[in-house]
């Protein structure tokens, strides 16, 4: 209801791209290696999203993210398909929450395959929880300046006498 005719919404053709057609276990299985492979595009998109706070302005970055994801999963399918499906199957059937701890053996097999074929090493377990610094060509948006009204009360002149507080301060350590 609050979307008026003045609000620009991109047309459907602009928003239609080929999507990654994978389910939860497959995405969770390939999460670490995918995150390492597509780190630049992912960081760019998330920075754009958090700085500009508008989904309409980050559509091209989002398309880059999806195409990188498609690229990665196609490479995995070409080289490590069996190990990947075995690992995803193990994650799916071992626990309801797709926990990693029950599937270490299949994970080792999959990691070795990806390292040999694609050259991607699995980052350490807290890698994507860390704060990242991302260099980008897009300029930083200016923060909103406070409003200045024409009838603001004038400040004290600099040479006005400013004596110390008459009865001291509320806290003894601020005196």
């Amino acid at each position: 209801m609050v979307i008026t005719a003045d609000v620009y919404l991109p047309p459907e053709e602009e928003l239609t791209v080929q999507e990654v057609n994978l389910s939860g276990p497959a995405l969770r299985a390939g999460a670490f290696h995918y995150g390492k492979y597509c780190e630049f595009q992912n960081n760019e998109f998330m920075l754009c999203r958090s700085e500009l706070n508008d989904p309409r302005k980050c559509i091209s970055e989002g398309k880059a993210v999806t195409s990188c994801a498609l690229d990665f999963f196609r490479k995995v399918k070409k080289t490590c398909f069996k190990e990947f499906t075995q690992y995803a199957n193990c994650l799916d059937k071992s626990s309801t929450k797709l926990e990693f701890e029950h599937c270490r053996k299949t994970q080792a097999v999959y990691d070795k395959c990806v390292l040999d074929n694609l050259g991607i090493e699995r980052p350490q377990f807290g890698y994507f929880c860390e704060v990242k610094v991302h260099d980008t060509k897009r300029p930083k948006p200016e923060p909103k300046k406070p409003d200045v009204y024409p009838d603001y009360t004038p400040y004290l002149p600099d040479d006005y006498p400013r004596p110390p507080a008459k009865y001291g301060s509320r806290f003894h350590w601020m005196e």
Binding site: M1, I3, V20, R28, G35, Y127
Partner: protein, 155 residues
């Protein structure tokens, strides 16, 4: 009826015997409940210390597993957010078109406003304000709304 007796009488009799059977009840010497209090406290602390150590042994492993799970979710977040954004913008346009079609014959109605009066007055005109869930699902069925808002666990 000899149930209520003088206290002094009972204590002088108890000095000879430990327990007096009276009408099926056995009156015994009042015991010192807090006799082993230091033993109790020391035992409590010892058991707490041992169990705390055993808890710590798996605490590290559980924490690492939680961090790993969080890492996997964060690694996948951009992909899922991008996909969601595209579909969200598509749905907003569909909602706006549906509202225009619905309120076409109502005099004075402009899409996104209350009979011409804008909802958000101080924002610039091209601001995308995320509508709240009832507005977003206004033209959808009840079952779709419930499917989105109600979480049902199958296991």
């Amino acid at each position: 009826m000899a149930l209520f007796r003088n206290k002094r009488v009972i204590s002088s009799k108890i000095k000879e015997e430990k327990s007096i059977p009276v009408m099926g009840l056995v009156l015994s010497e009042p015991s010192n409940c807090a006799a082993g209090r230091s033993t109790m406290i020391l035992g409590y602390l010892a058991v707490t210390a041992v169990s705390g150590y055993v808890y710590y042994l798996t605490w590290k492993k559980v924490r690492q597993d939680q961090i790993e799970m969080r890492s996997a979710r964060l690694a996948l977040q951009p992909l899922l957010t991008a996909e969601r954004d595209r579909e969200f913008l598509n749905q907003l346009r569909r909602n706006r078109d549906e509202e225009a079609k619905l309120m076409a014959n109502v005099p004075g109605w402009e899409v996104g406003t209350w009979y011409g009066e804008p909802v958000y007055k101080t924002l610039p005109p091209d601001t995308l304000v995320t509508p709240y869930i009832y507005e977003f699902y206004a033209h959808a069925s009840d079952s779709e709304f419930k499917r989105r808002t109600t979480l049902v666990l199958w296991s």
